[in-house]
């Protein structure tokens, strides 16, 4: 066992997959000599060579398009977006070309597009995005968003082995802030499409993912301490395919549910989850489904503003109390 960071877990996962399978290669901006803007690929060029660690021009559409082409030919490209915010430049090729390739033309496109996502880091409107919802809507793309060190490793490995295109949202706030002991030598795989019970409880369910899992756990601790209530926290881990069953199981136990995500409210994924719960478990609800999300604005830079716009642990506490009192 060795204690590693979330970032190191991602490194290890990619490294192991590159060792295991020579079809795996990396491409992206500044990932080679520089090791990536966040150093996720530090040392890869030296170990795997320029043929498998490809520095590219600033061309997100070409990066994703080329990854798709190489994948059709049997390779397994892992493309880095320097910040996930720049994935918007590849939106067309991801949603129209990549997502439909199998459906319309039977083409295998096993690519991973990964990158640092999320706020709470004073990154301003263009280095803090969590654009899951932009791709959630397009059939054909799998979406993964690990919250823990273990899942960062287990999911990046699973994503690389997956035969479908996967967008992999790493949370940059977690990169160096969380640590965990990981077993050495073990082939750690977190299955795509399975949620995790991050905390057991019976009074209220909170469904969440990525960095919000930690804010929610903090809130759950506070609620236990101060109010004596027991909150169950479901970490979705993958958004597509979504483990709706895990959500329903928890709800049938608690009968109260809150969905918490970092993204803006309108059109955020919480809406879809709420709709599904309402459809599939209406009779199990003792209170309305409520959402804790960011406000509907671009994400501002100043700490006072960012903290206000983004959801905080205290918001989960407040919302939970409201639900429990309903």
């Amino acid at each position: 066992m060795a204690e590693v960071t979330y970032l190191e877990a991602l490194r290890q996962g990619m490294w192991e997959e590159m060792v295991r399978d020579e079809r795996v290669f990396l491409l992206g901006e500044d990932i080679g000599a520089y090791g990536g803007a966040f150093k996720v690929t530090d040392g890869f060029l030296e170990r795997f060579g320029a043929n498998r660690v490809v520095d590219t021009p600033i061309s997100e559409a070409a990066i994703v398009g080329a990854a798709a082409g190489a994948a059709h030919m049997g390779l397994r490209p892992v493309a880095e977006m320097q910040f996930i915010d720049f994935i918007s430049c590849a939106y067309d090729i991801l949603t129209n070309y990549v997502a439909t390739a199998r459906y319309r033309a039977g083409l295998a496109t096993p690519i991973v597009v990964r990158g640092p996502s999320g706020g709470y880091v004073r990154g301003g409107p263009f280095h803090s995005q969590m654009p899951e919802a932009a791709f959630f809507h397009t059939p054909g793309l799998k979406l993964v968003a690990p919250a823990t060190v273990r899942d960062a490793k287990g999911l990046i490995k699973a994503a690389i082995r997956d035969d479908d295109p996967v967008i992999f949202f790493e949370h940059k706030f977690l990169y160096r802030r969380i640590k965990e002991d990981l077993p050495e030598g073990e082939d750690l795989i977190t299955p795509i499409g399975e949620a995790r019970v991050a905390r057991e409880g019976h009074d209220l369910t909170v469904v969440t993912w990525s960095a919000m899992v930690w804010k929610t756990l903090e809130a759950a601790d506070q609620l236990e301490r101060e109010d004596g209530v027991s909150v169950e926290v479901i970490d979705l881990r993958t958004l597509v395919p979504m483990d709706t069953d895990a959500v329903m199981r928890s709800l049938r136990k608690t009968n109260r549910i809150l969905i918490a995500h970092e993204d803006t409210r309108t059109g955020g994924i919480a809406g879809e989850i709420a709709a599904r719960i309402n459809e599939e478990a209406f009779e199990w609800l003792d209170a309305p489904i409520r959402r804790v999300t960011a406000h509907d604005t671009p994400l501002p830079y100043a700490p006072t503003l960012e903290d206000y716009v983004l959801p905080q642990a205290s918001d989960v506490v407040a919302a939970a109390r409201w639900l429990l009192a309903y």
């Binding site: 590219t56 080329a66 798709a68 190489a70 059939p139 479908d164």
Partner: protein, 345 residues
Amino acid sequence: MTLAAGAPPIPAGLTHDDLRRIYYYLRLTRALETRLTNLYRQGKVIGGLYSSLGQEGESVASAFALERRDILSPLIRNLGSMLVKGARPVDVLRQYMAKAASPTAGREMNIHFNDLNLGYLGQISHLGDMVPVMAGIALSFRMRGEDRVGLVYVGDGATSTGTFHEGVNFAAVMRVPLVVMVEHNGYAYSTPTRRQAAVERLADKALAYGIPGITVDGNDVLAVYEVTKSAVERARSGGGVSLIEAVTYRRRGHAQHDDQRYQSPEEVARWETNDPVDRYLQRVTGAGWIGETDVAEIDAQVEVELDAAVADCEREPLPEPETALTGVFVRPATAPALWFRGLDG
């Protein structure tokens, strides 16, 4: 068959048989599009119909310059290239008529389909997007040390897209084995080329990428073949990307429904006298490389083949509705049928 007495040597290392095959594909392309036009008029084509009339030459000749293991990515007017690569007329008909047995099982239209074993990749409608994808295919050839080349077609109009630029630049920097064929056919839908780009020669686009750019008469089949062949060889031998501008003309409208009001009748007429198939025939029969009987035989063979293809296709059913749900992902293999479909309407 021996060389006709006194005939000049065939250029570019082509054989008599090659010349006959080229003619076959030219004729097949044109005849298949004629069939499609008839079917369209009979209301049997489901969506729009696009014609490559007047451009068959560059499609066929450029694809002919590839080896079987090479991969090309056609656009809507590159039916000829796909046929050269082995696409079957019956599959083209099935696509246009959305039959269950079509290569895309009725999901995609017209020549949007692929067979990577035969060596063609299916396009999507979004212009320019195939360039980065082909850059990636060519990158995979280079990475694995495979002796293969990619060829990607783009229209004059598509050169304005961001993905064209990103893809060509990416390929050029990586020196992947790719040939970019810019089909300068005068128009993008109704837009004349001078409103698409402020250059005289689209080959000059190459200068921005540090790659060779060459302009060729797109209606001169043998010239297109030669130019493409040398770009392909350059790519194959590690020389990286080339860009070819094939100057040609779109004699029909953008699609069947287009009234071509923006093309002057004189202009169209002028290009009719510069037809690539006619020119090719004159050249190869004039030089004595192919005889009149060869031509007649091929013409007849094409019609027989198309009769069979049309007959086969017309009999076939449309896809079963529920098949629409499979194949969005590898896993899960089937999307769920929505709840209301199980109910009693």
